[in-house]
């Protein structure tokens, strides 16, 4: 919401500067976005006249001009303007002025050996080409009787009707419809003590009966109160310059007198108005609803299809649709510069109805903004009269009688404010007198003044005061936040450990050399397809109003967006990558799964003399995953590996899931070559995904010492020939279960497939470490366990011991 200081002073008697006003507005809750002092840039520029002239001794195109600029002493100035002549009145810039076009400070200079004490300006240099036309290579040429030395700002005001004023732009929060007008802002500043709020004038119109007009309100909920006033025989040309200037300063374009006046009055007091071309209206108009599916051609050149729920202004037979009530007029009934007879509409539309329609049709207008935030019902009639007065004043014609329908809503409320509540919420004890004083400054009325409470009547223009807390806020707002002493919260001793799972994961992953990524939770349908998902199955993940096709679906796997990142990095010649992300993905029912997802690609290290073939492989990511799970308190004994159950985007032979019974904790593996090809990634990628919500919470265990054995450790090697399909974990389990006390560890140290073995067979060689807590193991015991290991493995794997 923009306003100018000059305009503000129509409603506020004040001496406050723009800076004081800005500070006051900020402290009142209106954030000041911008303060533009258009005149400031012309400081130091004055009217001057060329008294004498001679050619520059060194340069053909330059002249030396003696300038009278209102001071006792005249100055010689070097000028390149082609139109210089004795007696030319122009704008003179003395040394120290900042040239608006170039933003450079004018210095005393020597031009081709001759000193110049200032500059004669062109309109280009002053950014005034639209106001003061000059010829090419010419300086400003003014016809004026203003005295030498008159400030440029004054020249512009007097000769060009261009008032240089300070424009302040504030943002008005959506609860404060009452401040969406210059008058509303003035009222707030007055409450803050920055001046005296001026009363509204009484308007008496010279009205005549000029036509008969029927208005019927059918939708009294959407529009409880409607007034309209005709004017006949007006000349709807341009609005006066002062009005155009003000409208332009606040960002509104000038159209025609009637439209400008409607906009001006709305901006001035906050009541939206609309001017119809009377010739286009039937003699009886209806404020109601229309047939669903009706098309509406709005003033903004767009067509809207109506649902039938909107409040509209129509002809009684619904054949003509004049306006979308309170939001926008129709193209066909709009006033134009040729319009002679107009109808000014000033009405009270319900906030809800306007908000619903505005949101449904997605139309933004100044009118909608005000109605949905709430306007002052007490100003409906005033605004209509004010508009008639202004149009009549500048456009002539005859003012007709107003037609009024419905009942003016009473937007006033009595709220009981317990005095103690103010201190209870704010922490500051204000005296009852202070409280009353603030409320009265805000135009509230004290209806009852009891010891412990006040009954407060809210003013008609406030729609945001509904219960006692709203009044507490007003008191604090006006008293100022600085008044409230800052109190510090006491610290609390934490009995629970503060280490959060996410923090622990980050530390573990960083230790393993993964960088943390954060990517968008949405991706494109294309990427999802490239991931070998069926988008049909995933239609629950579709976003209704995506910002672009690239961000149109919630990601079904964090890998989708992580791999997009890999793609970008490789394009930038960064091909050795290790990333992890903690974030959500979404399943086909649009349920959120919180994931830790990690990937590696390329080499462990950029080329290095100590490392030759150093590409990441599947067992790297398996180790990463095991390390991470153990950091989260899950030993490799607590889950099972399953190579049959995993998503389609993994290499079918090089991926697996880790399960606890039926519950999948994680997937890991190489990504499917097709996925990589689809995403244009020309190198292998290994990855894991952990379902964080399925990781059991860590219990804090009681510290317990496991004693170390003092007896010797015995190692025995075994080698088995097995069918190549037999998984290593089958063998390991078979060994470990033989004697849980004595077998300390099993290490596979060779896996062989090749010419010495029959087709389809492999050998696995491993070392078993045995140790007792109570004795040195005897050879017979070792033999016995070895035999058991052999038969257990043979049983479980159908393999045979290989004679080494």
């Amino acid at each position: 919401m923009r306003f100018t200081l000059d305009w503000l002073k129509d409603h506020l008697d004040t001496q406050a500067s723009a800076e004081e006003i800005s500070l006051a507005l900020t402290s009142l809750g209106f954030e000041v976005e911008e303060v533009i002092n258009t005149g400031a840039q012309y400081k130091g520029f004055v009217l001057g006249e060329i008294i004498d002239l001679k050619p520059h001794p060194e340069a053909d195109k330059l002249n030396l001009c003696l300038v009278n600029y209102g001071q006792a002493e005249m100055l010689w100035v070097v000028c390149g303007g082609r139109n210089v002549r004795k007696g030319l009145k122009t704008i003179f810039a003395s040394v120290g002025c900042v040239i608006p076009e170039s933003q450079t400070v004018l210095k005393k200079g020597v031009i081709r050996g001759v000193e110049s004490a200032g500059m004669l300006c062109s309109s280009t240099e002053l950014l005034l080409t639209e106001v003061i036309p000059t010829t090419e290579h010419g300086i400003i040429d003014l016809e004026t009787t203003l005295p030498h030395g008159t400030a440029l700002m004054e020249v512009l005001a007097k000769e060009f009707n261009l008032i240089q004023d300070t424009v302040i732009e504030i943002s008005v929060t959506p609860n404060r419809g009452d401040a969406m007008s210059v008058r509303g802002i003035a009222r707030e500043l007055a409450a803050k003590g920055l001046g005296t709020f001026k009363p509204l004038e009484d308007i008496t119109l010279d009205e005549k009966e000029i036509c008969s007009l029927d208005i019927i309100i059918e939708d009294t909920t959407g529009c409880p109160y409607y007034t309209a006033r005709p004017l006949k025989g007006i000349e709807n040309a341009q609005s006066p310059q002062w009005m155009q200037n003000r409208l332009k300063a606040v960002g509104l374009n000038s159209k025609s007198l009637a439209v400008d006046v409607a906009n001006y009055v709305m901006w001035d007091v906050g009541q939206p108005l609309h001017c119809f071309d009377m010739e286009q209206l039937s003699s009886s108009i209806v404020v109601g609803k229309t047939i669903p599916g009706t098309k509406f051609q709005a003033l903004n050149d767009k067509e809207y299809e109506l649902s039938g729920k909107e409040v509209v202004i129509t002809s009684q037979d619904r054949s003509e649709l004049y306006a979308l009530g309170g939001i926008m007029g129709g193209a066909s009934s709009a006033s134009t510069p040729n319009t002679k007879n107009i109808l000014i509409e000033s009405a009270y539309f319900s906030r809800n109805a306007i908000a619903q329609t505005g949101q449904r049709l997605n139309i933004i207008s100044d009118s909608r903004m005000r109605f949905e935030r709430g306007v002052d019902p007490e100003l409906v009639e005033y605004a209509q009269k004010k508009a008639a007065q202004l149009i009549h004043k500048y456009g002539g014609g005859t003012i007709g009688l107003a037609v009024t329908q419905g009942n003016k809503p009473l937007n006033e409320l009595t709220i009981t404010l317990p005095i103690e509540k103010v201190a209870q919420v704010t922490g500051q004890s204000y005296s009852k007198e202070t409280i009353k004083d603030i409320l009265q400054k805000l135009h509230c009325k004290i209806m009852k003044d009891e010891k412990d409470f006040l009954d407060v009547r809210t003013p008609s223009f406030r729609h945001d005061l509904g219960e006692s807390i709203d009044l507490v806020e007003e008191i604090l707002r006006l008293a100022g936040f600085d008044d409230v002493p800052a109190l510090y919260l006491p610290t609390v001793i934490q009995s629970k450990s503060l280490v959060l799972q996410d923090q622990l994961i980050r530390k573990a992953m960083c230790q393993k050399g993964f960088h943390e990524a954060i990517s968008f939770s949405f991706t494109s349908e294309n990427v999802v397809k490239n991931f070998l998902f069926d988008p049909q199955v995933l239609n629950a993940l579709e976003i209704k109003n995506p910002i672009s096709a690239d961000l149109s679906m919630m990601r079904p796997s964090v890998l989708c967006t992580l791999l997009q990142g890999v793609q970008r990095n490789i394009a930038r010649k960064q091909s050795n990558l290790s990333f992890f992300e903690i974030g959500p993905q979404f399943n086909m029912k649009a349920e959120q799964e919180n994931m830790l997802t990690a990937l590696r690609t390329g080499r462990r290290q950029d080329k290095h003399w100590l490392l030759k073939d150093d590409k990441f492989n599947i067992y790297d990511i398996k180790q990463d995953l095991a390390f991470l799970l153990s950091s989260l308190g899950l030993s490799d004994q607590s889950y099972q590996l399953n190579q049959d159950d995993k998503p389609a985007y993994y290499h079918p032979g090089r991926s697996a899931s880790l399960k606890q019974g039926p519950k999948t904790l994680a997937y890991f593996g190489e990504l499917h070559p097709l996925v990589l090809k689809n995403l244009d990634i020309g190198q292998d990628v290994i990855a894991f995904e952990v379902f964080l919500d399925r990781i059991p919470g860590q219990k804090i265990k009681k510290a317990e010492f496991t004693p170390l054995s003092p007896f010797p450790l015995v190692k025995r090697d075994f080698s088995f020939i097995l069918d190549e399909k037999v998984e290593a974990q089958t063998l390991l389990k078979a060994v470990l279960k033989v004697d849980k006390n004595l077998i300390q560890s099993v290490q596979i140290f060779d896996v062989y497939k090749g010419p010495n073995l029959p087709e389809g067979q492999k050998s696995i060689t491993f070392e078993v470490s045995l140790q007792s807590m109570t004795e040195t193991l005897k050879e017979e015991t070792i033999q016995e366990i070895s035999q058991k290991i052999i038969s257990s493995v043979e049983n479980a794997t159908k393999g045979t011991l290989r004679q080494i």
């Binding site: 900020t26 402290s27 009142l28 809750g29 954030e31 959506p174 609860n175 908000a355 619903q356 949101q359 935030r373 209870q424 919420v425 704010t426 922490g427 709203d470 806020e473 707002r477 936040f481 600085d482 109190l487 510090y488 919260l489 609390v492 934490q494 503060l498 959060l500 980050r506 530390k507 992953m509 960083c510 960088h515 943390e516 990524a517 954060i518 968008f520 939770s521 949405f522 239609n539 629950a540 976003i543 209704k544 109003n545 995506p546 910002i547 672009s548 990142g565 990095n569 930038r572 960064q574 990333f579 992890f580 903690i582 959500p584 649009a590 959120q592 290290q605 290095h608 100590l610 490392l611």
Partner: protein, 351 residues
């Protein structure tokens, strides 16, 4: 005399031995099975008792001194060999080792961690909720009914085929937690939020932390606007490690708090960028207020009995200010050069 040489001559010969092999030959010549000393010791048996005793003593002395000389010469020669060997084993230690490559933590995560750690000392614990939210939790329960103009401020993403939206703030987490746990309550809700805004200074996804503290009115834990001020002033100063950081509270409007405020911190804006601290400008960094009674009512908490405050902080701006990150969009690009550059060490928490 032994083999025609005096003891002194033998001693000299031992000292002159040039290699372990030569030394061993001398040892054999003297002390071997058929060595000179061995032969003379054998010959002792021919002598009478007295002579045997006397000559035996002398011979054994000679033998002892020769053995000791051989041993010490052997050690000399071995040391020389080792020294030579070590010299030959010299390596160029200026060759680069394989560098340790620790990963880096994303600045957003670090900021979230810093904030949750800071507020933990006042008894705040972390609460979470879903990114795909119900309209009810994201808006209605937060005192933003349908048709409320504040909904326009949110630029909400909606799902096409399920009745969900992408949460526009992490405030719905306070609703979920209050419904579940009631009051009193102290929580922080960090997380991803979404708004359909996409330009140089807006990202369609960003991060927020919502804080909520509700206590019983009139109890020793009673909290009011003054506590909100103190709590957030201290937080700003602690976060930016600037003891005298100016902090300004401005009235504002959020449907879910009343009174509501926006908080600005002091800064200096120059052509080089923004410096946090005393300066001519202000920068908005968070929104806050006393929880609106309607929000408490929606969660089944009696606003006559309980009150408290809530605040919401955008993580991106804090991270950009604290870690001098110029570009918002780069936050979610996952350029490995970027994270190496601005990411934080898991050990030191430093860039």
């Amino acid at each position: 005399m032994m083999n025609g040489l005096s003891v002194e001559a033998w001693q000299q010969k031992i000292q002159d031995a040039a290699s372990l092999e030569d030394l061993d030959l001398i040892r054999v010549e003297l002390l071997g099975k058929n060595g000179a000393i061995t032969a003379q010791l054998k010959a002792l048996s021919q002598l009478d008792e007295n002579e045997k005793k006397e000559k035996g003593r002398i011979l054994n002395e000679i033998k002892g001194s020769l053995i000791s000389s051989i041993q010490s010469r052997k050690e000399q020669l071995e040391l020389a060999i080792l020294t030579k060997q070590l010299e030959s084993e010299k390596m160029d230690l200026s060759l680069p080792e394989i560098p340790y490559q620790g990963g880096k933590i994303h600045p957003i995560s670090q900021v979230i961690q810093d904030i949750t750690t800071y507020f933990a000392q006042f008894g705040f614990t972390v609460a979470t909720g879903p990114d795909l939210e119900d309209d009810e939790y994201n808006f209605t329960a937060l005192n933003i009914p349908e048709n409320h103009p504040a909904r326009n401020m949110h630029d909400t993403f909606y799902m096409a085929n399920v009745e969900k939206l992408l949460r526009t703030h992490t405030s719905p987490v306070q609703i979920r937690t209050m419904l579940q746990k009631g009051a009193p309550i102290r929580i922080l809700a960090p997380g991803r939020v979404y708004r359909s805004d996409d330009d140089a200074t807006h990202s369609p996804m960003f991060h927020q932390i919502e804080g909520l503290m509700i206590e019983e009115i009139g109890s020793p834990d009673h909290i009011h606007f003054g506590h909100l001020k103190g709590c957030l002033v201290n937080f700003c100063r602690s976060f930016f490690a600037t003891e005298d950081l100016p902090v300004r509270f401005r009235p504002s409007y959020f449907p879910f708090t009343e009174p509501s405020a926006e908080v600005d911190i002091g800064c200096e804006r120059t052509a080089k960028g923004i410096t946090i601290g005393k300066g001519a400008s202000w920068m908005e960094i968070l929104g806050c207020g006393m929880v609106h009674p309607n929000v408490l009512r929606h969660c089944g908490i009696d606003p006559e009995r309980y009150q408290g405050f809530a605040f919401g902080i955008g993580m991106e701006r804090l991270a950009m200010l604290k870690y001098a990150i110029p570009d918002l969009r780069a936050m979610f690009e996952n350029d490995v050069r970027w994270i190496k550059n601005v990411g934080l060490s898991a050990i030191t928490g430093l860039q």
